[in-house]
């Protein structure tokens, strides 16, 4: 309500405005909590939706990049995932952190993307050995970008299985249910992905630095 609308006598009882504050400077806006963001999104507030997107988009982009082959594909997955998040946020029971739930939605979006594109992609195992012995890798010898590129170069099914098993921690049984394959198939595909990655890491180490 405008101050002009108040009777003149009302202003006399008001305490004096602190000298340090000016009317033109907005009060510092508190960062909305997770529950406030969720409630705002459920009410259809565009501001809350954007704040939620800005809060989690970078992390979820990293997740999508692992499951996608290119940045464009990852952005598609991210877009579909966030649309699903806003559409189904009402089913989130707030029993776990919101980030976990969003991450799961993104993985599901990546799986749907894979199902849509799977018939169009010709899978080639390439020329790799059948099996390699396990070895240890020095973490500091590899950068995030190099490892991400190696993962993205995997065949789609290998990339999915490797991400789900090695990064997300799913069991082969769960992966079989998710991808509609048997547990044995999941294991064999993971072993194959591991060989490909090991070989590529060895090649990468041979180009730039000695393999430890």
């Amino acid at each position: 309500m405008s101050a002009l609308a108040w009777p003149a006598s009302f202003g006399q009882d008001l305490p004096a405005r602190p000298s340090g504050l000016t009317a033109s400077r907005p009060a510092p806006r508190a960062v909305p909590t997770e529950d406030e963001l969720i409630d705002g999104c459920l009410q259809g507030q565009q501001l809350a939706q954007k704040q939620l997107y800005e809060k989690y988009s970078a992390r979820m982009m990293a997740v999508c990049l692992r499951y996608a082959q290119t940045t464009f594909e990852a952005e598609d997955v991210l877009q579909e995932g966030f649309l699903t998040v806003f559409r189904t946020l009402g089913s989130f029971r707030r029993e776990c952190p919101l980030e976990f739930w969003i991450r799961r939605v993104m993985i599901n979006a990546a799986l749907r993307q894979h199902r849509r594109n799977a018939p169009l992609i010709a899978v080639s195992d390439g020329d790799y050995p059948e099996n390699l012995a396990s070895e240890e890798f020095t973490f500091s010898n590899y950068a995030y970008g190099e490892l991400l590129a190696v993962v993205q170069e995997l065949a789609p099914r290998y990339r999915l299985v490797f991400n789900l098993y090695a990064i997300e921690g799913y069991t082969h049984k769960e992966i079989g249910e998710l991808l509609n394959i048997s547990e044995g198939t999941s294991k064999s595909q993971y072993a194959r992905a591991r060989v490909v990655l090991q070989t590529k890491l060895a090649r990468l180490a041979g180009q730039t630095r000695p393999l430890s």
Binding site: E54, C96, R104, F137, T138, Y142, L147, A166, L178, S182
Partner: protein, 567 residues
């Protein structure tokens, strides 16, 4: 100082270390992504509003239609009532006029045969008497003129009208007895009266003049004597005659009014008038004023034999909320073997998910109905009906009722342990929609009052044999999950032939004299069996579909019909 060795680990640990830890520092996506998301959210919101608007529009259209029907029905009933009243009044007037003409004719002939009588009548203030039930010529003409000019004419204006009548009568050529007789045979009371008025003798004209003179000369004396003045008396009689024209009672009153005119004219004329009136009454053997004509015999018309029409035909539209109430949880049956050992548990979980999210949809029905009257208030109706019913649910496994084809996105075990800790599996649900089209034959027993016009009530109960023509299911965003089963699909999870029980009641409006009627009222129906085939439940424990809604229809051929008389 010993340096700490660089961290090492397996292949999995290497990727987990770099990829997970680098998520926080990952590059955010391009701003274009948010614009796309925002645009899609806006479109989805608009679509939601559009759906709401559509529902509101349908509701408003239905309300408007009902209001229009109700208003139109009310207006029509008012029109019918007014027309009936007008017809009755006209026919009554005509009947009385004919009766009057019939009664007057012999008297008028008699009056035409004796010129002296007519002259005498003209002398008495130009009031030609016609016998029982007729108006006086002068008064009638004055009344008609006064009535035509101003309904509430003053005494003066009535007097002018009265004088004008007399003047006109004097200016016209004398009527002959034959013309009077001809007028009498013409059957028109007004013409007859006028012709009688125009038939005075010179003596009569003089007497008329005297009477008029006395009328004009003695209003005060009459007023003082307590009798109404002649103009006023004539005006009263004229007004009353105008308002009661054509009724026997009015004619009787006119007799009295004419007599009062004569009495109020002048003492000399009054005495002469009394004598003449008495003589005339004796001659004509008038009945008492106000009594019914003795020569009219009341005859009761025989009732027109009628009966209810045996067949009625109609069309009906119903809109309802339909709940398929399906439980796809199979106790036995076929499962998708490709799902492996989890086929049963996954399918059951998907069926439970379907049932948990099941929501009713819109049901529409169009019925063509033929109704046979059984007797009394009871009728039996049958016909043909087509229906389309919809329902909605949600699924995370593209489950639409048949075999579970794809469980890749379905997670029936939550929470799941993952690298990010305990990951609670969200049910990423996709909306699934179902559309059922069917055709059926209803057989219903109906209770109503077919003979009643206006508003009446009806009730109906019966069974419907319904054949499922097609069942179509879709999953939003998953076109591969779309299924369409026809009546000949072997893998259809639905019953091809079902029986339904239906009850409805409501209000019917049938305009008077019309053979059509409109009916509207609530309706409810329930299936005798479940909509799906594979169920391990007993007959009594089955989950049956049901719907509740409102129906509106039109019916032709109702009400009574005349029956030809049999000798």
């Amino acid at each position: 100082m010993q340096s700490q060795p660089p961290p090492k680990g397996s292949l999995e640990e290497l990727f987990r270390h770099h990829l997970l830890e680098s998520e926080a520092a990952a590059v955010p996506p391009r701003p274009l992504v948010w614009e796309h998301i925002d645009n899609s959210l806006l479109l989805a919101q608009n679509e939601k509003y559009r759906r709401r608007l559509l529902v509101h529009r349908w509701g408003m259209a239905a309300s408007l239609l009902l209001a229009t029907l109700a208003g139109g029905g009310w207006w029509h009933s008012q029109q019918v009532a007014t027309a009936t009243l007008a017809n009755n009044t006209t026919s009554q007037r005509e009947a009385v006029r004919q009766a009057v003409a019939g009664a007057v004719a012999p008297n008028a002939r008699h009056a035409g045969a004796t010129n002296s009588d007519a002259a005498t009548l003209a002398t008495n203030g130009t009031q030609a008497r016609r016998g029982p039930g007729t108006a006086t010529a002068g008064n009638t003409t004055a009344a008609l003129m006064a009535g035509n000019q101003v309904a509430s004419a003053t005494a003066g204006s009535s007097l002018v009208a009265y004088e004008g009548t007399n003047r006109r009568a004097k200016n016209r050529p004398f009527a002959t007895a034959s013309s009077t007789e001809q007028a009498a045979y013409s059957g028109s009371a007004n013409t007859l009266a006028y012709e009688a008025t125009t038939r005075p003798t010179p003596g009569a004209r003089q007497t008329t003049s005297e009477a008029r003179t006395s009328t004009f000369s003695s209003p005060n004396a009459d007023a003082i004597a307590g009798t109404p003045t002649s103009p006023f008396a004539r005006t009263s009689a004229a007004s009353f005659a105008t308002s009661q024209l054509g009724t026997g009672a009015a004619a009787g009153q006119q007799e009295l009014a004419s007599a009062e005119n004569v009495m109020a004219a002048s003492p000399a004329t009054r005495g002469l008038g009394e004598d003449m009136l008495a003589g005339r009454l004796a001659t004509l053997a008038l009945t008492a004023p106000g009594g019914p004509p003795t020569d009219l015999v009341a005859k009761a018309l025989p009732p027109v034999p009628t009966e209810l029409r045996h067949w009625r035909y109609g069309a009906e539209y119903a809109i309802s909320a339909f709940q398929p109430n399906i439980d796809f949880n199979r106790g036995s049956g076929s499962y998708n073997q490709a799902l492996g050992s989890n086929a049963i548990s996954l399918t059951r979980a998907a069926a439970a998910e379907y049932r948990a999210n099941l929501r009713p949809g819109l049901g529409q029905r169009l019925t063509l109905r033929a109704t046979r009257w059984l007797g009394g208030h009871w009728s039996l109706s049958t016909g043909l009906e087509v229906a389309q019913k919809t329902a909605y649910s949600a699924t995370s496994a593209a489950f639409t009722g048949g075999q579970l084809a794809d469980a890749s996105s379905f997670n029936s075990t939550a929470p799941t342990t993952g690298s990010i800790g305990t990951s609670y599996a969200p049910r990423e649900l996709q909306e699934s929609s179902y559309r059922y089209r069917s055709a059926g034959i209803p057989i219903e027993l109906q209770y109503d009052n077919q003979a009643k016009n206006g508003v009446s009530f009806y009730g109906r109960i019966g069974a419907i044999m319904s054949a499922l023509l097609s069942a179509h299911s879709e999953v939003a965003g998953n076109p591969e999950a779309t299924r369409t089963y026809t009546a000949f699909s072997a893998s259809s999870p639905y019953r091809r032939l079902t029986a339904l029980l239906r009850g409805s009641a409501g209000v019917r409006y049938r305009p008077a004299g019309r053979t059509w009627g409109l009916n509207v009222g609530p309706t409810a129906e329930a299936g005798v069996q479940s909509l799906n085939t594979e169920t391990d439940r007993s007959f009594l424990q089955q989950q049956r579909p049901y719907s509740v809604g409102i129906e509106a229809g039109i019916e032709f051929g109702g009400s009574l019909k005349p029956v030809p008389a049999t000798n």
